[in-house]
């Protein structure tokens, strides 16, 4: 046993000293971020670039506890910034209020939920909200199993559905937008928390249809086809940066947020970080497969941050299809 410990410790310490020693620095200020795994790639990109620009003087950590898990930690005061793929909910607002945690809600990018089919699928040209509802509503379970049950002109082929599991914010938003109630969905579809599994399902299956975040579609766009969605104005619109930005890709585009605790925002390095986020964040968000907000929106958001505009503009109730201008014009509530 002694030998093992000595050996382990010496191997470990030498390895440590050789590789790691130069990177140690003195105790520094750390900006702690946790929350949604959807927002994670953006947060990671911004944190990476920010640390490079500060030459390691400020440290940033990012976790993936999920939107809900992130808010739990945020409302205990453990984190400075919470990533969220949906607005903060009523119950979470209450917990935060009880703990005396005040925050600013800042939109940082859009995600366009993308409905995709196999490239060999030659019958689906576009989908209306009603079509999607027919496929995905809870009542469709075990009943709607063929394409021609959605629209009679489509072939009598089996309808193979792929979608995220019930723990995902993507699932929450899609069910809210399509079925009118978050988490109301049929259960008999292939569900996976790993979107790459859904991608494979659609790639390998002629009769498949699925939905996931835009970034996953962009990474695989040569192997699948995004279906244009008929928006409330009656136009068929495919997912694209332009269509999300002008609000025409509706209702399946959603804003992503960060929540910043007010006491953390008083710290110089957090202020700098948010400034960096809202000025350089746009191109970083696009680089990792998300849709940046219009330039004007970042300016307004930054102004709100500097003016310490507290609270959420949703009042704890999720909404679908709100434009970014309308969001930023609203008054916040704690």
């Amino acid at each position: 046993m002694k030998l093992w410990h000595k050996l382990g410790a010496s191997v470990f310490l030498t390895g440590f000293a050789a590789v790691a020693a130069p990177q140690f620095a003195h105790a520094q200020s750390v900006i702690k971020i946790d929350g949604s795994s959807t927002v994670f790639p953006i947060a990671e990109a911004v944190a990476e670039e920010f640390q490079i620009s500060k030459k390691g003087k400020v440290r940033v950590t990012v976790g993936i506890a999920g939107t809900g898990g992130g808010f739990k930690r945020f409302c205990r005061g453990e984190t400075d910034i919470s990533n969220a793929s949906r607005p903060i909910l009523k119950e979470e607002m209450e917990v935060c209020a009880k703990a005396g945690i005040k925050y600013m809600e800042l939109p940082v990018a859009f995600d366009a939920l993308t409905v995709v089919v196999n490239p060999q699928n030659n019958w689906v040209k576009s989908l209306t909200a009603a079509d999607l509802k027919k496929m995905w509503e809870p009542g469709a379970q075990g009943r709607v199993t063929k394409w021609n049950q959605v629209r009679s002109e489509w072939p009598a082929q089996p309808l193979m559905l792929f979608g995220p599991g019930a723990d995902s914010g993507t699932f929450d938003y899609f069910t809210e937008a399509v079925n009118g109630k978050a988490k109301a969905s049929r259960g008999d579809y292939t569900a996976s928390e790993d979107d790459n599994v859904l991608v494979q399902g659609v790639e390998n299956n002629k009769n498949a249809i699925g939905y996931f975040g835009y970034a996953y579609y962009i990474a695989h766009k040569d192997k699948m086809r995004a279906v244009p969605i008929v928006n409330p104005q009656g136009k068929e619109i495919g997912p694209s940066i332009a269509a999300v930005n002008d609000g025409s890709y509706n209702p399946l585009s959603r804003p992503l947020f960060i929540y910043v605790r007010d006491t953390a925002a008083a710290r110089a390095e957090v202020k700098e970080f948010i400034n960096f986020y809202l000025t350089d964040g746009a191109k970083l968000a696009e680089e990792v497969g998300y849709v940046p907000l219009p330039a004007e929106a970042y300016k307004v958001a930054l102004k709100h941050f500097n003016d310490k505009k507290l609270g959420t503009v949703f009042g704890g109730v999720p909404e679908v299809g709100v434009t970014i201008d309308a969001l930023l014009a609203r008054e916040g509530k704690l």
């Binding site: 046993m1 050996l7 382990g8 590789v19 790691a20 990177q23 990671e44 390691g56 950590t61 790993d194």
Partner: protein, 313 residues
Amino acid sequence: MATANVPDYLHPDSIRTGLSRRKMLDQVFVIVGLVLMFACLGVLAVLFMNLVLDGSERFGWDFFTNFPSRRAERAGILGAWVGTSLIMLVTAFCAVPVGVAAAIYLEEYAPKNWFTAIIEINVTNLAGVPSIVYGLLALGLFVYQFGLGQSIAAAGLTLALLILPIVIVATRESIRAVPKSIREAAYGLGATRWEVTKDHVLPYSTGGILTGMILGLSRAIGETAPIITIGALSFIAFLPSSPITSEFPFISFQWLNDPFTAMPIQMFNWVSRPDQAFQANAAAAGAILLGMTLLMNAVAIWIRYRFRKKINW
């Protein structure tokens, strides 16, 4: 004639054919066993080769010395492998002494009654508890109650809890394998219970104890769920504080309180990324994690070999 009364099945010829048939069955079993064993090893080899090939473009010094990045080719596992090594160190230092002590008590000291029977059953049951349950327990107990926070210490203790039953069960098995006669001889010469344990039982069972420790650590090194629950990070571009400092007393335990990430979490994060280039990183990290496990096993086997050489009954 006596031979006339011998039944057919005792006839030398039929005995001979019976024997050769049974020997052939024996051979068949050997072959089946070999085939099955190579099938298992083959699956492992194919998996490992697959990971190595998929991740081949990432292997290199940079991969070990870079922090995570949004660009796959720039992203490395420095934070992850250092975090995993430190967590394993804490886990081994906590689980092994406690586990071995518990096993010695149960085998050598504890009276055999209903109370120890209940303890025994529970220890065995604990080995089957899903790891996420340990994560939730640790979140409440270590992270909040004891105030350890999202730290390496909390992660190490969580995984130590997780592998404690494995260490206890393996240690007990190997203690039980020490022949009774050895103990009795020692007692006969007037040794106390502790002397018998220290000088005879423990040295002879070291091999088994090490096996248990390796089984436990091999399980712990791949665990994702419990350390995500207690708050492991996914992006962290700095290392825990150095255990060696330039100022007196030259040794620091600050690293125990530092935030961390670990290999399985880094892999999980890369596997679920939209950008396909990260799949290569995930494969490379997987191969390295497997390599770390094998290395740990190799060290233990070597130590076990050295201990075995010293034993002469």
